[in-house]
């Protein structure tokens, strides 16, 4: 047990405005006790926990002091101001736990183990689940609180429920900023010709994402060919050249320094990606026809960066980059979102992580070279004209798993059947004849019937009548048994209380059996103890079942005993298994009764 009580210094306030009485807050499972430091001052508090309905608290990081607000069932509230948030947190978790128990049975102390260090959120999740599902709550109450199962064991089988609940909370990933990197303005000190760029890992990641060519260059040059610093210097030199719009100068510099040229040229990776994207566009869309319709094909929409108007020569086309290209690329990257979750410390690591994630996504996108074929498929799909084709939908029934009770109903009848035909697998019937003989006899009967014609009369009238009567009888019998409505099960004919009890027993037996069978093979002393515990709980159910049987009116007793029988069988099987394994165990290792290795 983490602690059966919590003691903290706190101020008790009746209202938020109240400055509060300083004192000690002591919380146990049963009650909340507040003793002021000054014994004379009023505000001594002694509240039992079962009057407490809920709690509210201020959040860390908000500008409010750490307050815990407990509301009681008369809608009154007790506000405690703690000295710090960790105190608040501890108390809050404690209250949460107690409230969870309090929802079920307040007088029973909970059996808990110190390994259950649950976070408050998980606790809340469990409480929420219990509150939402009364059946679950019943089971929880029955087994966990009576000590048959531990809290962890109970929830271990319901991880999925918890996960589902937990997964409802969406984790938001941090995206890229929408500001463009071109906005990194160089800072000039005005006196010298030195231009300074400020680089942060964040910016680097963005550059990598938006300019795959730079990314590639970084991976190949750094640190083998040049240092990271020189790399970035070159990069910004190129950027600076771009920003001046001096394409002649850019061309000149690019010719001199091939590394620099990488940054100055059009990004070939981007270009190929763009081509791929165009291929993915609806093939019936004739993009060429649209060309020239608007001014989008004009470079930069006629707007020039930095307001510098300068005509660029066509021979320097290679070194020209349009604003719209940049904007589009940036928009795409922002929309893609951040694919890497690497701490933005080391640029190298960032670059590699990005490379990996790209690899993955491109693998997904492109599989094999049958793109042209896919394009054709798409083309035929797009050009399909519905009017010309008949509907080719076939009637389909959705696959469904029917009400499992249906299954149990029939299983129960199955178990009843005295005839062994359902039980014995394939009984081996001897047939001494050879293959030839049997085929021969089969052909013989065909030729017989060919020669003689059909047997006349096919059925004797008496036999026919017998069969019809038997069938009619069985029909009217099943009608009586099952009721007119095929959906109606035997359960519906029972009194409501009995029905509920039976269903409850079913679920609790299933729960016990689930844990029971899951603990085999017994490898630890802990499991051993658990199995013992479960067995005791199971043997307790027998008299309860008998009691149900006794309580129903006599005409329904048969039905109920039919329903109870499979429960008995399941329990019997479990107990049998238990006893058998006990015997083996004691025979094997007499000196170690626990059998624990």
């Amino acid at each position: 047990m983490a602690s059966a009580h919590v003691t903290k210094r706190a101020k008790y306030k009746t209202t938020i405005k109240d400055p509060g009485t300083p004192g000690t807050l002591r919380m146990t499972f049963e009650k909340i006790l507040f003793v002021p430091h000054n014994p004379k001052s009023a505000g001594k508090l002694d509240v039992e926990f079962r009057y407490i309905k809920g709690q509210k608290h201020t959040k860390e990081g908000s500008n409010k002091p750490p307050w815990l607000n407990l509301t009681n069932n008369q809608n009154g509230s007790f506000i405690f101001e703690f000295e710090n948030y960790s105190d608040l947190q501890e108390c809050r978790d404690f209250v949460g736990k107690v409230l969870a128990k309090g929802g079920e049975v307040s007088e029973k102390p909970t059996v808990a183990y110190p390994d259950e260090q649950l976070s408050a959120t998980e606790m809340e999740l469990r409480i929420k689940l219990l509150q939402e599902d009364s059946e679950l709550q019943k089971l929880h109450k029955q087994f966990v609180l009576s000590g048959v199962l531990t809290e962890t064991e109970f929830w271990a089988t319901r991880k999925k429920l918890l996960d589902r609940e937990a997964s409802k909370k969406t984790k938001q990933r941090l995206g890229f900023k929408s500001a463009m990197i071109s906005d990194i303005k160089p800072s000039t000190d005005g006196r010298t010709n030195k231009v300074t760029f400020n680089l942060t890992p964040e910016v680097i990641l963005q550059i990598f994402a938006e300019k795959p060519a730079v990314h590639r260059a970084f991976l190949s040059y750094v640190p083998n060919k040049m240092s990271e610093r020189t790399f970035w210097t070159k990069y910004f030199r190129a950027e600076y050249l771009h920003s001046t719009k001096n394409s002649i100068a850019a061309a000149a510099e690019g010719a001199e320094d091939e590394e620099l040229a990488v940054f100055l040229k059009q990004d070939d990776i981007l270009a190929s990606e763009a081509r791929k994207k165009i291929r993915r566009v609806d093939p019936t869309l004739d993009m060429e026809a649209d060309e020239g319709d608007d001014y989008t094909h004009l470079p930069d929409h006629g707007i020039f960066r930095e307001g510098n108007k300068e005509m660029t020569e066509s021979q320097n086309e290679l070194y020209k980059r349009s604003l719209s290209q940049d904007i589009n690329r940036h928009a795409a990257v922002v929309l893609e979102g951040r694919a890497v979750d690497v701490e933005l410390e080391d640029t190298k690591a960032v670059a590699e992580a990005l490379a990996q994630s790209k690899q993955k996504s491109s693998n997904k996108g492109e599989s094999g070279g049958d793109t042209s074929r896919e394009r054709l498929d798409r083309l035929s799909r797009m050009t399909e004209i519905e009017d010309l084709q008949g509907p080719n939908t076939l009637p389909l029934a959705p696959l469904c798993i029917k009400d499992p009770r249906d299954y149990f109903d029939s299983q129960q009848a199955n178990a009843l059947r005295t005839s062994g035909d359902a039980l014995g697998g394939i009984e081996q019937i001897k047939c001494g004849l050879s293959t030839q003989e049997v085929y021969g006899s089969l052909r013989e009967s065909i030729s017989l019937i060919k020669a003689m014609g059909l047997k006349e009369p096919i059925v004797k009238p008496e036999v026919a009548h017998q069969v019809f009567d038997a069938l009619t009888n069985s029909i009217s019998n099943t009608k009586y048994h099952i009721g007119k409505n095929p959906q109606e099960s035997i359960l519906d004919r029972l009194p409501r209380k009995t029905k509920e009890e039976l269903l409850h027993h079913w679920t609790s037996i299933l729960e016990l059996l689930k844990h029971f069978w899951a603990s085999y093979p017994i490898t630890t002393a802990y499991l051993y103890a658990k199995v013992n515990r479960l067995k005791d709980a199971m043997s307790n159910i027998y008299p309860q079942l008998e009691e149900i049987k006794g309580s129903v009116p006599s005409e329904l007793r048969h039905q109920v005993s039919l329903l109870v029988r499979p429960m008995h069988q399941a329990l019997d099987a479990a107990i049998q298994h238990y006893e058998a394994s006990m015997q083996k165990r004691s025979a094997q290792s007499g000196e170690r009764p626990n059998g624990y290795v």
Binding site: Y113, D115, A397, G424, S445, M452, F468, S474, T478, A525
Partner: protein, 296 residues
């Protein structure tokens, strides 16, 4: 059937695909002789054809080594001579059946070692479904299809997966599988097939009155089934066969990924390849350390 009602004939027109068990090993040990069985069935088929001009009957023989279509009322024109001894359709059916048996015999290799083997039920069921799919796709209107299995041989657990797949695809295309078991022990496969697809399963008590059973229960068209009670089996044998040894089992291990069934614990799922690991023992020992503390 609601999704494409316009494609069905309004009333009781039906296609009945009958799967005949022609496993010679079964018939040599059955109390009902094959010729008797045939006369019951042939009269029944004739009755179905008589009921409505548009009714259609397809017979598939389920042999020991193979299965094949032996009769299709839509294509076998009544051109063969009539001897007045039996309906026209019967003679052509019998002819084909004989040919089928000869072929089936040629396929058999070794002698069965002393016990009745199952017939190739999965094969004929799949053929029936293929035929029905063709019916669905042909023409503007198609009749209500249903499958009737007349089976006597014991279940072949090795066919479990194939049969279950066929059953589920039958359910998906809403084709009921009726089954009439004429062997000594009831068949779990047939029971499940009828249960899942909403067909009727019946095991006649009195095989001399087989024709009466067929007429009373299995001649009922799907249209009338919404007004009439048909015998329901009291219980359905839901047991499955394991994928590893093809045994019918009561309790077993199930792959949590692909739901394959095994009778023993395996390290790896043979169907989907998921590694099961030693989940149980590992978890046990992992939690062991923690759990030990409260006791000590």
């Amino acid at each position: 059937m609601a999704s494409a009602p316009s494609k069905l004939y309004a009333d009781d027109v039906s296609v009945v695909v009958v799967l005949l068990d022609t496993n010679p090993f079964f018939w040599s040990s059955s109390s009902l002789s094959f010729s008797q069985f045939l006369s019951h069935v042939l009269a029944f088929l004739n009755a179905i054809l008589t009921l409505n001009q548009l009714n259609q009957v397809v017979v598939i023989a389920t042999g020991y080594n193979s299965c094949d279509y032996v009769f299709d009322s839509s294509s076998d024109l009544n051109r063969s001579f009539e001897n007045g001894r039996m309906p026209v359709m019967c003679s052509s059916l019998l002819q084909k059946l004989e040919e089928f048996l000869i072929k089936d015999e040629q396929l058999s290799k070794e002698e069965p070692e002393g016990k009745i083997k199952s017939s190739l039920f999965s094969g004929s069921l799949s053929m029936a479904l293929c035929y029905i799919q063709r019916v669905f796709r042909s023409g503007a209107l198609h009749p209500h299809p249903r499958i009737l299995c007349l089976q006597g041989s014991p279940d072949g657990p090795e066919q479990y997966v194939a049969i279950m797949n066929a059953i589920f695809s039958a359910q998906r295309s809403s084709v009921p599988i009726d089954s009439c078991f004429i062997g000594s022990q009831n068949s779990a496969f047939l029971q499940q097939a009828s249960y899942i697809t909403g067909g009727v399963h019946h095991k006649p008590q009195n095989l001399d009155g087989l024709f009466q059973y067929l007429m009373t229960i299995f001649a009922t068209d799907l249209h009338s089934r919404s007004f009439i009670h048909l015998p329901k089996p009291v219980g359905v044998d839901f047991r499955a066969s394991c994928f590893c040894h093809k045994n019918t089992i009561d309790m077993g291990y199930i792959c949590s990924v692909c739901l394959s069934i095994f009778c023993k614990h395996h390290k790896k799922c043979s169907t989907c390849g998921s590694v099961f690991g030693q989940a149980q023992t590992e978890a046990a020992s992992a939690s062991d350390k923690k759990r030990k503390t409260p006791e000590t």
